[in-house]
């Protein structure tokens, strides 16, 4: 029997995003959970000098690992920052154009990258399931130059129409739609990262476009997990699998309690063939 690699969808997302982190850029990272873990994994492994801010005003922290289980705003997550401010200050840093990338999770997304974190089903007044709200995602997705969005590849998440536009993507997709609405120029969603596929947005039509897939999935499989049909890049790249080292660091240093990464769908991959076993 050949060697196998086992990980969750969240772990896959964290590893994929960690591989995208550039050390000479600044990141505005949502609260906690997978987006923060992705930047921390990069900081631990490949981009130790990367700077990021969090909503509650810690600028460029150097968190002490292993991280605490409830880490938002806690001392170990703000450890050795270069500055401790408040939300209005760091939101202003983003308004001023200092934040190259926003890093966010979302519940539902449409083909123009508009996304929902408010409610699913029913009406605004009587929702079937009410969620936490836009949080800091709207200011991040509006004011950072590029936004990296993380979610799961499922048809109920990639939908024709989101139940509620909590935060803006390219709105109706027309050229200049964000600027006409009053948003800062030349901003918008940049990539959407899932456990099995990565998307970007077409430069002119602003439609979501499949650009990379995990080795074990086909285009058809990806499309079957989406309500709308994305554009397909001329050449769809193969995504890199999480490494043993990445997974070990996530499980021992980044989320030792497993509160975030142990939930969701598990993947077991045969390392010789890169095919999914279970």
């Amino acid at each position: 029997m050949s060697e196998q690699l086992t990980f969750t969808d969240v772990e896959a997302n964290i590893c994929t995003i960690a591989g995208m982190i550039e050390e000479d850029k600044l990141y505005f990272v949502q609260m906690a959970g997978a987006p923060l873990m992705a930047v921390l994994l990069a900081k631990y492994m490949s981009a130790p000098g990367v700077g990021y801010v969090v909503e509650e005003g810690a600028v460029a922290p150097s968190p002490s690992f292993p991280l605490p289980r409830m880490m938002v705003g806690a001392s170990r997550s703000h450890y050795r920052a270069v500055g401790w401010y408040g939300m209005n200050i760091v939101d202003s840093h983003a308004a001023l154009g200092f934040m190259d990338y926003g890093l966010l999770a979302c519940l539902q997304i449409d083909k123009f990258g508009n996304f929902n974190s408010t409610f699913i089903g029913g009406t605004y007044e009587q929702p079937e399931r009410r969620f936490g709200g836009a949080g800091g995602a709207t200011e991040i997705a509006s004011q950072c130059w590029r936004t990296l969005l993380m979610t799961k590849l499922q048809s109920r998440k990639f939908v024709n129409k989101v139940d509620f536009v909590s935060s803006p993507g390219y709105l109706d997709g027309t050229p200049g739609a964000r600027e006409r609405a009053g948003l800062p120029a030349n901003t918008g969603p940049y990539k959407v990262i899932t456990q099995e596929a990565v998307f970007d947005f077409h430069e002119e039509t602003h439609q979501m476009r499949l650009i990379a897939m995990m080795p074990w999935v086909t285009e058809e499989e990806v499309l079957s997990k989406m309500e709308f049909e994305p554009l397909i890049a001329d050449k769809v790249e193969r995504m890199t699998l999480p490494t043993e080292e990445q997974l070990t660091i996530i499980r021992t240093e980044i989320d030792p309690g497993g509160l975030t990464v142990s939930r969701g769908e598990w993947f077991t991959i045969d390392r010789d063939t890169d095919k999914r076993v279970t």
Partner: protein
């Protein structure tokens, strides 16, 4: 005024001159002790129907001992701003205290969903930053502030924001109305008897909330000497004249954490979560709120010294806070 678009959300009309009149006649300018019990602070300064603001980083440095006192005193019909919060909104909804929530981000579950379904609770959506910014507007004494986001979304539509044509750039710009809460509760690490308060560490908007709220209750881990405040003036987050009450509350944000002092009691949160899922929050409240007369009694009879010591030990960082 050419208003290009307006959200439909309900909001308190900002009234800077009304706030000023309140300040003129109600706020104490002298250095007098404001130390009082949590009971007195909540009963004197929180009224049914008040707009209540508070500050915390999700579950960190939240004024939970004062939330419990609000429930204990069965305050009603509060309108709260839940920005970057945790299960506080659910707790207050469980206590029957809240009828409206301005939402930035909060933990949601059965309690919130059921209260909406029954028509007992109305949510008005904003974002964390928009609510913090509305407090900033209030702290500047104006009625609105312009900002570069919120537009283009359904969040805007459900909020009370407006879009106008910017008179300086001719581009569309979003305006949010200033938030002047009736009362704010803020937990801090250190405060003197007059209300000069220090928030140690990053915080969402403690100063903005303190400045924009008509009434302000501070709960503090410890009282420090007034002369200590004067020896390091740059560390004072909130000066005395904004403050109406100072409540001594060690472990005041239990089960949340206070940076530099103690960690969070995660088991307690899970207990609350389980109670919520099982529809047993009445039992939870009976145990943690109604059956104890005070925060002190809760710590003594429900939490216990061993747990408190463990939580102290769980906080390993003092650097940047106390060193």
């Amino acid at each position: 005024m050419d208003v290009l678009a307006s959200g439909i959300g309900e909001f308190r009309k900002p009234d800077p001159d009304g706030y000023r009149e309140y300040v003129r006649t109600h706020k104490e300018r002298r250095l007098v002790s404001k130390v009082m019990s949590e009971h007195d602070a909540i009963s004197r300064f929180v009224e049914d129907g008040d707009y209540l603001a508070y500050d915390q980083n999700v579950a960190v440095r939240g004024p939970t001992s004062l939330f419990r006192e609000i429930i204990r005193q069965r305050k009603k019909d509060l309108w709260i701003a839940a920005k970057f919060t945790w299960s506080d909104a659910s707790l207050l909804v469980a206590g029957g205290c809240v009828s409206k929530i301005d939402v930035g981000w909060m933990a949601t579950g059965r309690l919130i969903n059921e209260a909406i379904r029954k028509g007992e609770l109305k949510l008005i959506d904003w974002t964390n930053g928009a609510l913090a910014y509305r407090h900033l507007a209030g702290s500047l004494g104006v009625s609105f502030l312009p900002m570069r986001y919120l537009v283009g979304t359904d969040t805007f539509t459900q909020s009370g924001a407006k879009v106008i044509e910017d008179p300086f750039t001719s581009q569309p710009i979003c305006l949010v109305p200033a938030l002047y809460p009736d009362v704010a509760i803020i937990h801090v690490q250190q405060c003197d008897i007059y209300g000069d308060a220090r928030v140690l560490g990053a915080g969402v908007a403690p100063m903005e909330i303190a400045m924009s709220s008509k009434k302000l209750i501070i709960s503090t881990e410890e009282i420090i000497d007034h002369e200590a405040i004067r020896r390091q003036p740059q560390r004072t987050t909130i000066p005395y004249y904004f403050v109406d009450a100072v409540v001594v509350a060690p472990f005041g944000c239990y089960p949340g954490s206070t940076p530099g002092l103690y960690g969070a009691d995660i088991e307690h949160w899970m207990q609350f979560g389980a109670a919520e899922m099982q529809g047993k929050t009445d039992e939870y409240l009976e145990n943690w709120v109604f059956s104890v007369a005070s925060h002190e009694e809760m710590l003594d009879k429900r939490v216990g010294a061993a747990k408190l010591l463990k939580l102290r030990q769980a906080e390993t960082v003092r650097e940047g806070y106390y060193e």
